[in-house]
């Protein structure tokens, strides 16, 4: 665990040093989404019986926290291929799981900060927010899960170009397909089924239910836990295997 703490310490120094820029950049895209879809769609538009803007905010939380947690992948990549900094972790007497945990911790901080920013912005669009226990648990799970996925991808890709290809072909489609901004029930059957194999779908379902104070969809909650464990295991294996 000391190893995880050390790695987390490193990531946080850099994070603190850039905090101003980070907050600015984390605020911009949610703000644009809220303006375009929140105001743009108008007040009367309702989905699944709620105002559209209240419907989309949990989706925005899911998407934004996923993106910023997963974003550690590109930073690990630069650290690995460009600065060779990852070697310093790999040569230290620490286990692969502490490396993974340290990086996940950093990814979670980023994902959670972006969620917090959205929750602060929401009242500006006259959406009242209900922060409850399950909302927090779901955000923790979502950021854990996608930070772990970020570590896997960072360790598997061979170049920076592969990394951005993965973002373009997996992360971006997932951001939009997983019921983040619309009701999944509107999807054709086949896409509906595919969407349920994607982790972000379950995050947006759980986040939406908690945000709107509805009963948590248990199946999706279990799926989130399952994906988290799976990705964590995968990340540890990926770090072990990276010593080629």
């Amino acid at each position: 665990m000391k190893g995880a703490k050390a790695i987390f310490y490193r990531e946080m120094i850099i994070f603190k040093r850039r905090i101003g820029k980070i907050i600015a950049s984390y605020s911009l895209s949610p703000l644009l989404f809220l303006i375009a879809f929140g105001w743009g769609m108008g007040k009367k538009f309702k989905v699944e019986g709620v105002d559209y803007i209240a419907f989309m905010i949990p989706g925005l939380l899911a998407m934004s926290s996923m993106n910023h947690s997963f974003d550690i992948a590109s930073e690990i990549n630069i650290a690995r291929f460009y600065w060779h900094i990852f070697d310093e972790f790999m040569m230290a007497p620490i286990s692969p799981s502490s490396i993974v945990l340290g990086e996940i911790g950093a990814g979670m901080v980023k994902g959670l900060l972006s969620s917090f920013i959205i929750l602060l912005l929401a009242p500006l669009f006259s959406v009242s927010i209900h922060i409850n226990f399950f909302l927090i648990i779901c955000l923790l799970l979502n950021t854990f899960m996608f930070s772990a996925a970020g570590v896997i991808i960072a360790m598997m890709v061979k170049t920076h170009a592969d990394q951005s290809a993965f973002n373009t072909f997996v992360i971006v489609p997932m951001s939009f397909l997983c019921g983040t901004f619309f009701s999944l029930k509107k999807l054709p059957k086949i896409l509906y089924i595919i969407a349920h194999f994607l982790p972000l779908t379950h995050s947006s379902l759980c986040l939406r239910a908690s945000f709107l104070n509805k009963a948590l969809p248990l199946g999706s909650f279990v799926a989130m836990i399952g994906f988290s464990l799976l990705f964590f295991y995968g990340a540890v294996q990926a770090v072990k295997r990276s010593s080629v």
Binding site: G3, I13, D87, M90, P93
Partner: protein
């Protein structure tokens, strides 16, 4: 007991054998120099000995801990200076060192004392709070070396510690390395500078195309070949002969013809390398 031992250590990349059945032993307190041309397999060997690369076959053993089977114990014994500058340019020198200390579970008070001591040792104290991004190549190198020493490892690996540095900085680093040896640390270093191997190392191993072609004390190796080298240059091509005394070499020149130029000097490891492989280290 040997502090570093490799037992038919092998690394293959597809059909390329980067390191071929390497058997090596380094005793405590020695500076072992691993000499070889570009692409010989030096870095690959160091990476296997330090746990960054998994051997295709064979074993890397550090203070009797197997690097593959007991990586955490084996890694506790070592400090590593890589060939590439891998200091964290987004951190200050103190933060770089602190991170390293934390990665090695050093106790905080001891860590901070040692950071102070080593920053003075490497003449970096004045710049301790500056981002490493602003450092020169030589300063980064010095920082990498003291970082590797922070947790007081018994064994220090250095992969081309002076590559790309100017002659003066190189000499400074040599002085640093000698001081480190004084403290009882075993040093495994790679180089493709003959001068460096001859000047610093108690023992050298010469590697070419993944194979260890000879090993021994630098003086003994050159003496066994003949302490004096006669270089015969004819039509722009050099050939070499080795002699026990300078007189013998000189006599040989009398038998030469007018198209030949001669040079008599003491034999160095480069001559040994050419003698063994037919090529120059620098080729």
């Amino acid at each position: 007991m040997h502090t570093i031992e490799s037992l038919s250590l092998t690394k293959k990349y597809g059909s390329l054998v980067a390191v071929n059945a390497l058997d090596l032993q380094v005793k405590r307190g020695q500076i072992f120099g691993f000499l070889g041309p570009n692409g010989a397999g030096k870095t690959t060997t160091v990476r296997m000995l330090t746990g960054l690369t998994r051997p295709t076959s064979g074993q890397a053993v550090i203070n009797s801990y197997d690097m593959v089977k007991e990586p955490v114990m084996a890694k506790k014994q070592i400090g590593v200076v890589s060939q590439y500058n891998n200091v964290d340019v987004d951190l200050t020198s103190v933060e770089n060192l602190r991170l390293h200390g934390m990665l090695h579970s050093m106790e905080k008070k001891k860590r901070e004392e040692r950071i102070k001591e080593l920053l003075h040792f490497a003449h970096l104290w004045k710049r301790k709070d500056e981002l490493v991004r602003t450092f020169s190549g030589g300063m980064k190198r010095r920082l990498m070396i003291i970082r590797a020493l922070l947790h007081s490892p018994q064994i220090l690996f250095m992969d081309e510690p002076t590559v790309g540095l100017d002659p003066q900085t190189r000499r400074d680093i040599w002085a640093l390395i000698r001081q480190i040896r004084e403290s009882g640390c075993t040093i495994f270093m790679t180089t493709h500078y003959i001068e460096e191997a001859e000047n610093l190392c108690d023992l050298v191993g010469i590697i070419d195309q993944g194979k260890l072609i000879t090993r021994g004390v630098p003086n003994h190796l050159t003496e066994s070949l003949g302490p004096y080298t006669l270089e015969i240059i004819e039509k722009g091509k050099s050939s070499y002969q080795f002699f026990k005394t300078a007189e013998e070499a000189y006599q040989k020149t009398n038998a030469g013809n007018h198209q030949q130029e001669f040079d008599i000097r003491s034999t160095n490891l480069e001559d040994l390398f050419i003698h063994l492989t037919g090529r120059s280290v620098l080729e």
